[in-house]
């Protein structure tokens, strides 16, 4: 087994745009679940709505990418309002059911042939990110050291993605230290009590849903710009559950949790992939084939998520006293 290669591949995941995508989505989910207690199981849909909103604005309406990004954010906000108005008045578990269903509905809607002219159907859309790559300020060449060597465009997307994460984290931190954040935490604990103190609980929950959804939309945009295409298959429930794993690994009601959780998660994923492929290669796992290794990894994710919830519900950074599972 090539340990050096496994290690370098794994470290490469630390700053990959893929990792950044899940960090942004988990940061949004932290606003939803960690701070407000909203059980959102459709975070993938918020990311997808943002990504499609941006891509369709650019391709169908010929808008510049900058405007497309704003349209993507707007689309995710509208999606939050559509989901929120009927469900936020109900108990938390209804939101979970509705969000998971809505995210599947949106995915199938994007796959439908009938709208393929706009949505690209199951083939998806591409060629919407040209403005992004054209705006790359880094001259051609390679940058970095050790496992962190990137071409100019690879560096560009990483810089942008992690700048977004930094901005998002500061934004959430500013919100959560404020009296506004205190109301959200109050709602997480008992919304009737907060209501009895004169706060418009519904408005706060809707605001939280929109803000967390916007962060996920940004994550979705990073995801599709990096891949240079957007496809409906990407946004399945697996996407959502990976976001949950990242969030719970790091700690739900924390700012650093989603960031470190995302990094640890994708490094571990890469390490297990590397080691298991290596073991298959040398014939130590005769019952497995290489393609199966990719599948087994997700089995392990599920197991890890269960163990996490049982043995360390507060995650890496969480305060056990402050946040246990009571969403």
């Amino acid at each position: 087994m090539d340990w050096l290669n496994i290690g370098s591949l794994a470290l490469g995941e630390l700053f990959s745009p893929f990792t950044a995508t899940f960090i942004l989505c988990a940061l949004g989910l932290s606003v939803h679940f960690g701070y407000t207690g909203l059980l959102n199981f459709g975070q993938a849909a918020f990311a997808a709505v943002g990504a499609y909103g941006m891509a369709i604005s650019v391709l169908t309406f010929g808008l510049p990418l900058g405007v497309g990004i704003l349209m993507g954010l707007l689309a995710s906000a509208i999606f939050a309002v559509i989901l929120g108005i009927p469900t936020l008045r109900l108990r938390a578990d209804y939101l979970a059911i509705v969000t998971i269903a809505a995210s599947e509905v949106f995915r199938y809607f994007m796959t439908t042939i009938g709208f393929a002219k706009v949505t690209g159907g199951s083939n998806g859309l591409s060629q919407f990110g040209d403005d992004f790559w054209a705006a790359n300020p880094f001259p051609e060449g390679t940058y970095g050291f050790g496992p962190f060597i990137y071409r100019a465009d690879e560096l560009w997307i990483r810089v942008v993605a992690f700048a977004l994460i930094a901005l998002g984290a500061v934004f959430v931190w500013l919100l959560m230290r404020s009296p506004w954040g205190r109301v959200l935490k109050g709602i997480r604990e008992d919304e009737d009590a907060v209501r009895s103190l004169g706060k418009n609980v519904f408005a706060y929950k809707l605001q939280a849903l929109i803000i967390g959804g916007a962060l996920a939309a940004l994550g979705g945009m990073v995801f599709v710009i990096n891949l240079s295409n957007v496809q409906p298959q990407s946004w399945g429930t697996t996407f959502t559950f990976m976001i949950w794993t990242v969030l719970l690994l790091g700690g739900a009601a924390t700012i650093l949790g989603p960031i470190v959780g995302g990094m640890v998660f994708f490094v571990l994923l890469s390490v297990t992939q590397g080691i298991m492929s290596g073991l298959v290669d040398i014939g130590a796992l005769p019952f497995l084939t290489l393609p199966q290794v990719g599948q087994i990894r997700f089995l392990l994710i599920g197991l890890a998520l269960m163990l996490l919830v049982i043995f360390r519900p507060q995650g890496i950074f969480g305060n056990k006293k402050e946040l246990q599972f009571n969403g």
Partner: protein
């Protein structure tokens, strides 16, 4: 019998000299069951009014209706002359009518001081955009904190300031909930069973706090089963049974009322009212 609070003799639905809350024809049905059916009731301003009645009399449902936590089938009610029917609960609270809950709703995973700060109203930092810029709310926050610390001291919770509310005892949580309700300086405080589950050692201090409220000009309406408390601190007693107001009047008079003895006490009619609830085993403290 004449008294200072009502116009004319005390009777169910009688008019008061200065009512703060007036309810008319408030009815709430759950399926075939009529939980509340109050024709007319007035709550006197600046007094401590007790709402008593047997289990299932509709006291808590009536509370929920008045504060917008539940919607009646029919009826209207006004608070300081403002119509409150159909007004959502948070707006009711903003008008100065703050309630507490029978099952205490301390925000467990917020600290005691954060619980208190949340009770304050008109904090500009609770607006989403303004919350991002600290100077816009820091001053107000400091003022709120001073007030919160003051209340915590009064309620003897100042030692617990930084503890999570989850770490408090049941009685302390009741105190916290009451102190939190006072953060917004309400005109009417509605306490739903303030004594339920409170350690007897804390009972006296709770009673004193309620009397202090009256001294500061706050109107108090409370639901209670503890006759000792009702008799000692209330100025006026309203008795509900099967959803209706069956008697009203000053405590001494109401407790002699045959309708009350009948509806409320039933088999315990001969027991000394002052000691009933407090001596029932298992009543005091969880």
């Amino acid at each position: 019998m004449a008294n200072e609070i009502s116009i004319g003799p005390a009777a169910p639905g009688c008019k008061k000299h200065d009512p703060i809350l007036v309810a008319d024809n408030v009815m709430r049905q759950f399926g075939g069951l009529t939980a509340v059916n109050v024709e007319h009731v007035e709550i006197p301003r600046g007094q401590i009014t007790a709402l008593i009645g047997p289990n299932g009399a509709g006291k808590t449902t009536f509370f929920n209706l008045l504060t917008g936590f539940d919607k009646p089938n029919t009826g209207s009610w006004t608070f300081e002359g403002k119509n409150l029917a159909g007004v959502p609960s948070y707006k009711v609270a903003r008008l100065g009518m703050i309630r507490t809950f029978q099952l205490t709703k301390a925000l467990s995973l917020l600290t005691v001081i954060e619980n208190m700060r949340l009770g304050a109203q008109k904090q500009p930092g609770e607006n989403f955009l303004r919350s991002l810029i600290r100077p816009l709310w820091a001053k107000h926050e400091a003022a709120i904190t001073v007030k919160a610390d003051d209340l915590l001291k009064r309620f003897k919770l100042d030692a617990k300031r930084e503890d999570y509310a989850a770490a408090l005892s049941g009685g302390q949580r009741k105190l916290l909930e009451m102190a939190r309700a006072l953060m917004s300086e309400p005109k009417l405080v509605m306490l739903d069973e303030p004594m339920a589950g409170v350690n007897p050692a804390l009972t006296q201090s709770l009673l004193d706090h309620i009397k202090d409220l009256k001294k500061n000009g706050t109107t108090v309406l409370f639901v209670e089963h503890d006759m000792h408390m009702v008799r000692h601190i209330s100025d006026w007693v309203i008795v509900m049974a099967e959803g209706k107001v069956v008697a009203e009047g000053p405590p001494a008079q109401v407790m002699k009322d045959p309708a009350v003895i009948d509806a409320y006490l039933g088999a315990h009619a001969d027991t000394d009212l002052g000691t009933v609830a407090i001596n029932v085993p298992g009543k005091a403290g969880n």
